[in-house]
Amino acid sequence: MAAKSYNIPELDKKLADRRYHLSDTNPEFTQKILKTSRTIANMCYQCGTCTGSCPSAPRSSYRIRLFMRRCVLGLENEALTDPDLWLCTTCYSCTDRCPRDIAPTDVIMAMRNLAFKRDIVPKNFLQTVQLIYTSGHGVPNNDVNRAARTKLGLPADPPTTHSYPEFIKGIQKIMDHYELKENADRILKGD
C-alpha cells in the first residue's frame, strides 16, 4: 500500500521508506546482546511490564523498557553511555513477569559486559575485582571480625582462601586469562 501523500516532498519520501533507520544504529549490537544474554530480546513488544515491576524505576530515570528498545533498534552508543545502565539491582522481577518470556535483566548484564569492553564501568565494580585478585574475597576479613570469630569458637580466618592462600594463584590465573585485573588497574588509573 502506497503511503498517503501530504504534498510535502521531504515527508512523502520519508513515509514511502518503510525501513527504520537511524544514523547511529548498529544491527550487530542486537546480535551481540542476544548471544551474551541467551534470551530472545528481539521479541520485546514494549508492553512495559518490566518497567512497571522495576524497584529502580520509581526513584530514577532508569527505564528497563527503554533499554529493551535500544537493544532491538541497535542503539549501541545510547545504551552503553547511559549512566542509568548501572541502576539495575538485578532483582529479576521484570524477568519473572515478562509476557514474552524474555529476561530483560540478562539484557542489562550483556549491555554492561559490552560497556566494560569500551572501558565504561563504575569504579566500585573494578575495586571488587582488585580485592578478589589479592585476597580471593570481595569482602575480606578484618581484625574486629577475627576477634569475634575467635570468641565464637571459629578459626580467626575462615577455611577459604583466607586460610589457604595457596589457592589464590589459581584465581589469579583465571582472571589473568581474561586480562581482567590488568584492565581494571588500567581503567582505575585513567580516572
Binding site: 580471593g136 571480625n145 589457604y164
Partner: protein
C-alpha cells in the same frame, strides 16, 4: 547425617560470623553436617563480576564447584548471592556444552576440570525439604520457642528468581519461608510488596548508595507498618543492607526504624537455645536487645 560442602561466601564469614557459626550448629541438630570447603573464594559476586565479564564469572564459580566435586559432596550455602553464582553456573555448565568447554579450557591452566557431578542447595531449602529435614524436624529441634515475636520474612531475589530457571514455584507470594519461621514459634507477618528487592544487588549499593537505600527504605516502611519486631532473611548481603542500611538511612534521610535484622540461621540458633553471644549479635548495627527481651 546428610553431609555437604559448606560454601561460605564473603559477608557471612567476614562480617556476620554468627551466620556461619549458627549454620554449622543448627544444621547438625537436624541431621545435616556442614564440612569446610577448603580454598573456596568469593562466589564471585554476581552483580560485580557478572556485570563486567560473564565468562570470568562462569570460570571463577566453576573453580569453587570443582573444589566440592573433588570432595564428592553437594554444596550447601546460606547466601542468595552465592546461590545465584554457584547454583546457576553449575546449572548453566551442566546444560551448555559450548560454555562448559570454554570454562574447562581455562580451568585446565590450573589443573582443574568441571565435571558436573554435584548439586547446589541453599540450607533453607534443605531445611524445608522433607526428604532431608522438613518443617516438623525444625519444630522438634526448638527448645526456646520465639513466641510473641512478629517476624517479617524477606525472601530476597536470587534464590527463587528467575522462576523459570529455578524450582521454587510461585515468586509473587510464596509462603514456605513463613512456614519455617512459624516452626520456631514466632509469628510470620505479611507486609506490602514483600517480594521487593532489598536494593543492594547488581552493584547498586556500591554505585549509588542513596538509590539503593531508597529502595531499602520503602521496604522498611512497609515492614514497620505491619508491626514487625524483627526482619529475617536468607542472605547476608540483604542482612547487611537492612542492618547497616538503617544506620545509613538515618544519616541520609533522617528516618529511624531500629528493627533488628537476623539471618534465619541466627533465629533458628536462638530457638535452639544458642545465646546472643554464641551468635555475635553485638556485631549487628541495629541493637537486637528489644527483640531478645521479647523472645528469651
Amino acid at each position: 547425617m546428610h553431609e555437604y560442602a559448606f560454601f561460605l561466601g564473603c559477608i557471612a564469614p567476614n562480617r556476620y560470623p554468627g551466620c556461619e557459626a549458627s549454620a554449622i550448629k543448627t544444621s547438625e541438630k537436624v541431621g545435616i553436617k556442614l564440612l569446610p570447603l577448603k580454598g573456596a573464594s568469593c562466589c564471585p559476586a554476581p552483580g560485580a563480576f557478572g556485570s563486567i565479564d560473564l565468562n570470568v564469572w562462569y570460570a571463577m564459580a566453576a573453580r569453587n564447584l570443582v573444589l566440592a566435586e573433588e570432595m564428592k559432596k553437594d554444596i550447601a550455602l546460606i547466601c542468595n548471592g552465592c546461590y545465584k553464582s554457584i547454583w546457576e553456573v553449575n546449572h548453566i555448565l551442566k546444560h551448555n556444552d559450548e560454555l562448559r568447554d570454554n570454562v574447562n579450557e581455562v580451568l585446565a591452566e590450573i589443573d582443574m576440570q568441571f565435571k558436573g557431578t554435584i548439586d547446589v542447595w541453599h540450607l533453607a531449602e534443605l531445611y524445608y525439604d522433607d526428604k532431608i529435614c522438613g518443617v516438623q524436624k525444625i519444630k522438634d529441634s526448638v527448645t526456646t520457642p520465639l513466641s510473641g515475636a512478629k517476624v517479617a520474612a524477606h525472601y530476597g531475589c536470587h534464590l527463587m528468581k528467575p522462576k523459570k530457571e529455578r524450582h521454587f514455584g510461585d515468586t509473587e507470594n510464596p509462603m514456605w519461608f513463613e512456614e519455617l519461621i512459624g516452626a520456631l514459634g514466632a509469628e510470620p507477618i505479611q507486609y506490602r510488596n514483600k517480594m521487593q528487592c532489598c536494593g543492594a544487588g547488581g552493584g547498586v549499593r556500591g554505585y549509588d548508595i542513596v538509590h539503593a537505600l531508597d529502595i531499602t527504605n520503602e521496604k522498611l516502611i512497609n515492614i514497620q507498618e505491619a508491626g514487625a519486631d524483627a526482619i529475617t532473611e536468607l542472605c547476608p548481603f540483604c542482612q547487611l543492607q537492612f542492618d547497616r542500611g538503617q544506620i545509613e538511612i538515618k544519616e541520609k534521610f533522617g528516618d529511624v526504624y531500629n528493627i533488628p535484622v537476623l539471618h534465619y540461621n541466627e533465629l533458628l540458633g536462638l530457638a535452639q537455645g544458642m545465646s546472643p553471644q554464641d551468635l555475635a549479635l553485638d556485631l549487628h548495627a541495629i541493637d537486637c536487645t528489644p527483640f531478645l527481651q521479647k523472645v528469651l
